[in-house]
Amino acid sequence: MMTPLADYHDQRNAFLTLLEPDCAKRILLFSGDTGTGKTSLIMDCQKNVCDPVYHIPIQLRGTVVSIAEIFQRTVNSLGWKSLPNFKEELASFGGNQVNIDRAKMRGSDNQINVVLQGQNPVDREERQAILTNAWFEDIRHLDRLLLMVMDTYEKATTEVKDWISGPFLTRTSDVEKIRVAIAGQEVPEANTIEWGHCCEMQELYGVPEAQHWLPVVKNLGRVIPVEHPLDWLAGICHALNGHPDTIMQIIQSLPHQQ
């Protein structure tokens, strides 16, 4: 559910800064333990994204989200016309024999996956590098900003993590038209000379202050039926270490306002 967000003003402001045309730190990392509200924060932030920004959210948990899948989503959003170099490089690999279930090949939609599942892991890594370069060359010439928001980074496979934390973010630091926000219990290591200078890190520790939760209680139409609601809420926040997840469960169990 889209729950109202408590506090995290600094983090929300950092996201707004990311969208500014002259933003120097094009990479924003949100890091925090499970249940600290990262996904809620990311979803709340994305409400502020509007035209003319290209916006591509990518959820890295659950299914196997591969590099090919990430590229495919950008093609779906931007269209092939915006990615001529990428398309050309992809086509240059098109003559190679790849043994896959032919029933799954439906035009260019699966071509990225076909090309990146090379017969040899060395081939695949080289092709990733070539396609990544071509893709960024195209992004450099986009007519508007591209925002990519990736959630649950810790669930990504090693291949995807290596790619994101390596070639992808390195080139992001070089290309003004792209902005990247990544959230997770684990995030790419920002202490790197390749893109660390271009990165803003925001840690999420929870929301321990009761006054930040009062608006949420009100927003949800609930009431705290005790004499000193703020004190009671402060006791809850303290007992639960400011953990948004569990505090929200308590709030949702409160009686409705009459």
């Binding site: 559910m1 196997v64 591969s66 060395v122 080289e126 291949e159 809850i236 949702q252 169990s253």
Partner: protein, 490 residues
């Protein structure tokens, strides 16, 4: 109500206890149908109305489903529906397994049954099916885990990301002791294998050592685990340990008639001998493995053995024999369509020609290998050929042509991140400029090569440093204008 929950929270001793109190409090305040649905919804990694109906005794109404999905711990999961938030889910599953394991198993059975009817070409459904079968029917689950991991891992798939995702899901069960011994062993084995692929050798070793081999009845799996440990030891330069593991695995493979495993062990022993410079022993092992590969029709294994024999000959400076082996392996790679193997053989033949100072023949081989590498998109192989052509030019004192070739190879090395060859190309550029008597350029390129080799901590840095010293001495004394490399080799 409110003071009671606060008092209970304040009295609880641990964070987990507090979280469970909150969960209980939440569940108590839900209608029974929704409460049951929460337990059911926690079983899979995602759910929609249909999936949930398959799990619950009674289907939820539309409004009940909506109530469930608006709970604070239910999240939207794009393209899948919804899921219970990880933290809450783990809490619920832990309690369910602890307090009502049969109910857990029954829900898993229903989930497995639902999942296996979904599109099994979809990786997510396939993995989810295995995940539930590991609890619903551990024999089926472990069998699926092994079969699917092998299928995804092996050529032509090389789908390591899928294997990793599968192992991760199994790990979820393993971490809270929901798997049997075989399930745990398979999880560790495949996790270690993925670690190995991504050069996380210490992690791989730790996982393989965690496997309780004595509890594994499946002899093939046991042998595979021991051999994998041998592979990891080898990657960590622990050659005696590697040797011991291969020697331990080999008779198990032999006992169960797993000839491929046996051949792989023998070849691996040969590879260990090579690393320990025991070339005659290496030769003996490759010669022993080769007919086994041949008998079982594993032509790739056979070709690899023959090529390895060629490498042994190179080490023993038996260049004509090396040539013969590479020439023998080449058509086999060609016949099985292993173009990379074929190109590697042709290039190796070129390298032999270089060793024998047959530079025109070397040139011809590199020129032959290069388009094959190009056609299969093996840009590293192509760049290596171009660099080798540069070497040929340099050996023939065709320094300007050498510079041209090195300049062509360098962008590829940089693009694909091959820092060693990139550094080497700089070094050889330096040598080529030395041949052209352009000392400033020579210094520049050798300095850059030194910097790059130092960054990757390669022993080649010492060689380049020595070249630079010799250059400086030469500048000071005005003596010896022979090419640096030749002087160094002398």
């Amino acid at each position: 109500m409110n003071n009671d929950i606060l008092n209970r929270l304040e009295s609880a001793q641990t964070d987990e206890a507090r979280e469970w109190l909150v969960m209980q409090f939440t569940l108590e305040n839900l209608a029974p149908e929704i409460r049951d649905a929460v337990w059911a919804a926690a079983i899979p990694h995602w759910f929609d109305a249909d999936f949930l109906t398959a799990l619950t005794d009674e289907p939820l109404s539309a409004s009940e489903f909506q109530t469930l999905t608006t709970l604070s711990f239910a999240e939207e999961f794009p393209e899948h529906g919804f899921n219970i938030h990880e933290r809450t889910r783990n809490l619920l599953l832990k309690r369910l397994w602890q307090d009502e394991p049969e109910r857990y198993r029954e829900l898993s059975r229903r989930a497995a049954s639902y999942c296996e009817k979904q599109n099994q070409d979809d990786t997510a459904w396939k993995i989810e099916t295995v995940y539930h079968f590991l609890i619903a029917d551990p024999d089926v689950g472990t069998s699926l885990l092994q079969d699917i991991a092998v299928e995804w891992h092996n050529p032509p798939n090389f789908a390591y990301d899928k294997v990793e995702a599968l192992a991760k899901q199994a790990r979820e069960h393993a971490d809270v002791n929901r798997l049997n011994e075989l399930g745990i062993a398979l999880t560790l084995y495949w996790e270690a294998h993925i670690d190995q692929i991504y050069s996380r050798c210490r992690e791989a070793k730790a996982k393989l050592l965690e496997i309780k081999l004595s509890k594994i009845k499946d002899k093939l799996l046991k042998a595979n685990c021991i051999r994998a440990l041998g592979d990891v030891h080898r990657m960590l330069d622990e050659y005696e340990d590697a040797r011991a593991r291969y020697a331990e695995a080999r008779p198990i493979y032999s006992q169960i008639g797993a000839r491929l495993g046996e051949a792989n062990c023998i070849k691996a022993l040969g590879d260990v001998h090579i690393m320990l410079s025991e070339y005659e022993d290496a030769r003996a092992r490759y010669a022993e493995a080769r007919p086994i590969y041949s008998q079982i029709g594993d032509r790739l294994g056979e070709a690899n053995c023959i090529r390895a024999l060629g490498d042994v000959h190179i080490m023993l400076s038996e260049y004509e024999d090396a040539r013969a082996r590479y020439a023998e392996a080449r058509p086999i790679y060609s016949q099985i369509g292993d173009r990379l193997g074929e190109a590697n053989c042709i290039k190796a033949l070129g390298d032999v020609h270089i060793m024998l100072s047959e530079y025109e023949d070397a040139r011809a081989r590199y020129a032959e290998a290069r388009p094959i590498y190009s056609q299969i998109g093996a840009r590293l192989g192509e760049a290596n050929c171009i660099k080798a052509l540069g070497d040929v030019h340099r050996m023939l004192d065709e320094y300007e042509d050498a510079v041209t070739q090195y300049e062509k190879a360098m962008p590829t090395y940089k693009e694909i991140g091959d820092r060693y060859n990139y550094a080497e190309a700089f070094a050889y550029m330096g040598l080529a400029f030395k041949g052209l008597k352009q000392n400033e350029q020579t210094h520049q390129y050798l300095q850059q090569a030194l910097k790059l080799f130092e960054e990757i901590k390669s022993p080649r840095a010492d060689v380049v440093r020595q070249w630079l010293d010799e250059l400086n001495q030469e500048s000071a004394s005005g003596n010896d204008t022979r090419p640096l490399e030749k002087r160094f080799l002398d």
